[in-house]
Symmetry: C2
């Protein structure tokens, strides 16, 4: 007899799901080990396209970033003549801000002031603002995930005994559903319009709000732009409509803008919620988040991120920052990574040319794969894929034969999970079924990243195409 068992622990924790790291991923790891141990498989390698993990897919770290982090950790390296002057300067200014000039000292709870100022300058430039951005509205975090958790925890109180409701897009990134489940909050789904390139439609927001109003007290709308898993990029017009919707209903906005550097479609550009709100002088509260894990740097393992508060009352900000103080601070090396993200070398700096060449290489690879993935999927019978306008994912729709659906349901599996599992077992390609992100009833999808290196990616496309044809043949 144990004290703890699955029924007497927190059922919210028991029930939460995070498909990006679910059973398919566990199986993919096992398969890779089996291959390593010489097992016979119908494939030579496992390709993990389940998670936006750039470096794991052979993307090379940017030299500028790594020199700074490495020298800040072990300052004796600064004597090395190979280290460029701009790296030395940055390292020295960052160390001046650290207690005892060591990255091993705690920073302030919200992060080093100097890095918060770098972020503020970045936002000012990005949004072409005349006025300075208040660095005190920026707090540094362990990846962007922490921004979601603290924001949700902050607002989690209703006035009417019903749970707090949070509107999230469907499909969504499952961090949202997992966090809401853990905190006992009510998930209010609004559906993105697949027929129109996963666009966000205000009538749908009103429908979702109206239908959920009785069950919860809606306090937040989450928007992911560029979209994960959809790859859609919102227009400024569309963003302003969301802001006006939030104003009408007096709810705050959580803008997940971690893919702001990943725009691929011709003519598309990133518009921040902050700049759209400024344009119409909207006064409602916004939390916007950014990460060091995505973009062209892809430093996922270093866990850098920030949140920016906009239009927040100072007394509420103080309470949020007090909450952050109880976890002391996020990784100082993660903070330094964030400094590199928002303040890269400028033209004329010794590190500029190398930095520019490295980032261009990454971005152009991603851009061509963004096109290749949609073209390939659209060339396959029974698959339909919207343009991958931004981010790092495609989310194609599968028309599954009835026989396959029946067999899946008989096994008590979601049909797209059933499909993904067979894909993995027969080709070694690991993707995430659409049911992990949410999708319209009776539709089936999967998410794949576009991160594997070009030759592996082409191989993956080939494996998927021939698997799909065999799957259709088998179940038709």
């Amino acid at each position: 007899m144990t004290i703890l068992n699955p029924t007497n622990i927190n059922q919210n924790v028991r029930n939460l799901e995070y498909a990006v790291r679910g059973p398919l991923v566990t199986r993919a790891l096992e398969l890779a080990k089996e291959l390593n141990n010489g097992a016979e498989k119908p494939f030579k390698s496992v390709i993990r396209a389940n998670i936006g993990d750039c470096h794991a897919m052979q993307q090379k770290p940017l030299t500028f970033f790594r020199q700074i982090i490495s020298c800040a950790t072990y300052p004796s390296m600064l004597d090395n003549p190979d280290i460029p002057e701009d790296v030395k300067e940055r390292v020295n200014s960052l160390l001046d801000a650290c207690g005892g000039r060591s990255v091993g000292a705690y920073s302030e709870s919200c992060g080093l002031e100097i890095v918060r100022r770098h972020c503020a300058d970045y936002i000012k430039q990005r949004d072409k603002l005349d006025q300075d951005v208040d660095w005190q509205n920026i707090f540094l975090t362990t990846g962007a995930s922490e921004v979601v958790k603290v924001t949700m925890s902050l607002v989690n109180q209703s006035s009417n005994g019903k749970p707090v409701g949070v509107m999230i897009p469907i499909p969504q990134y499952p961090l949202y559903s997992a966090t809401l489940c853990e905190l006992g909050m009510h998930q209010v789904n609004y559906y993105l319009n697949e027929q129109e390139n996963w666009s966000l439609n205000v009538e749908e927001l009103e429908r979702a709000y109206g239908e959920a109003e009785d069950q919860c007290e809606i306090k937040v709308i989450v928007v992911i732009n560029p979209g994960n898993p959809t790859g859609a990029v919102l227009s400024k017009r569309n963003i302003i409509e969301v802001v006006e919707f939030a104003q009408r209903h007096n709810i705050m906005i959580l803008a997940d803008e971690v893919y702001q550097h990943n725009i691929w479609a011709e003519g598309a550009s990133f518009t921040s919620f902050r700049s759209a709100m400024a344009e119409i002088n909207a006064k409602l509260e916004l939390v916007s988040m950014m990460s060091a894990s995505k973009g062209y740097m892809g430093e996922c393992g270093l866990r850098g991120g920030y949140g920016e508060l906009y239009n927040f009352p100072l007394d509420v900000r103080a309470i949020l920052y007090k909450l952050l103080s109880a976890r002391l601070c996020c990784s100082v090396l993660g903070q330094i990574t964030m400094s590199c993200v928002v303040k890269p070398p400028k033209i004329g700096d010794p590190s500029y040319e190398k930095y520019e060449a490295e980032t261009k290489q990454v971005l152009s690879n991603l851009k061509s794969k963004a096109k290749l993935v949609a073209d390939t999927f659209n060339s396959i019978e029974g698959m339909q894929c919207n343009e991958v306008a931004g981010a790092m994912y495609a989310f194609p729709r599968l028309s599954l034969p009835k026989k396959a659906i029946d067999e899946a349901l008989a096994k008590n599996q979601q049909p797209d999970f059933f499909y993904a599992w067979q894909l993995l077992e027969s080709t070694g390609v690991c993707i995430v079924p659409g049911s992990g992100f949410g999708q319209a009833p009776n539709t089936y999808h999967f998410r794949t990243t576009i991160l594997p290196p070009p030759d592996v990616f082409q191989d993956m496309m080939n494996r998927m195409k021939s698997f799909h044809q065999q799957f259709l043949a088998r179940y038709s």
Copy 2:
């Protein structure tokens, strides 16, 4: 009119307190800035003895650690002939475990398998076990704080509609009270016995349990050993009594053992809960935690930590690990720091001598300050301080004059806060009032770290002694 205000947000978050980073610390930062700007003060420098932040207090990072972290970040450095062979080997084995051989790839949610194995080997050696420790029971975290948060979240469900109760020592480290407050859990105080060197008494545990039983469903007892803020080190006999208490009441144990390397008293030694439980074959659930922030390494800013589950049902472990997966992973460089903590150079390794000399220096400094602090405080009229047997803090008792207490209460301040504030304003020394940790009613204390370097520490002792005498003279 804003959407959010202090009354409509989460009142648990609003109410939580974390004194280690409270208003005194904010004021200390301001004073330091004022001094820098040339302001006239009755002191020349601010001394921050409020937080266990070793490097901020000029403690030097260990070379072995920094070489490994730095080379793992920027592997070109491995070509440098100054880098010892054992550092190169470790870096290569760690990078082999990283996706794409980059610390920028996400690790598994529970951390890199190789580092979890290093931790398991460490525990086996530390506790002189015959059997291997199961590395799969170890999960790597963002400092030890994250272990507390996920454990509390995991067990936060009661069967009778009452809140879940957690027994914590008083005085305690305020992370516990803050986490319980945030999660809406019930804090059950058991008092440590100041008269007997802050010992832990089972009758007191029974009293606390019995009195709280009606108000909550008690599921966990937290023990901090070596003690923060008390500096006490528990005997094996005492630990076994706690285990038997927990067995009697069917509650799990959360053992905060982050100061296991910091033992100062002659004849004292660290006994882990794990080994005590093994000795009496106790089968209840234990979570033990360790950190890279304390010990002799003091790498607070790198945010390394681990939790070990002991006697956990596998299905509950799986649920906890699923919860961890939603935050992806903790900093890979923090994980690598943890590898250095638990697997330092051995005799004969190229890095051994330097490592040994550096750690001895840190430990012998801390040991002499541990003695100095208690001796100094005990030489002051109206102060009483127990032996600092372990950890990095002293928690002396203040006998405050009635006039001072009355003046504090008239100002709506805790008397020890009133004392600490005046100490800061007149001497620049920043400590944390006992009320931030909890203390027996009508007693007053403060916590100071023993971290400032020896000359600064002596200066700090002098400032505190003369302030205290003036304070007594003023209010007597």
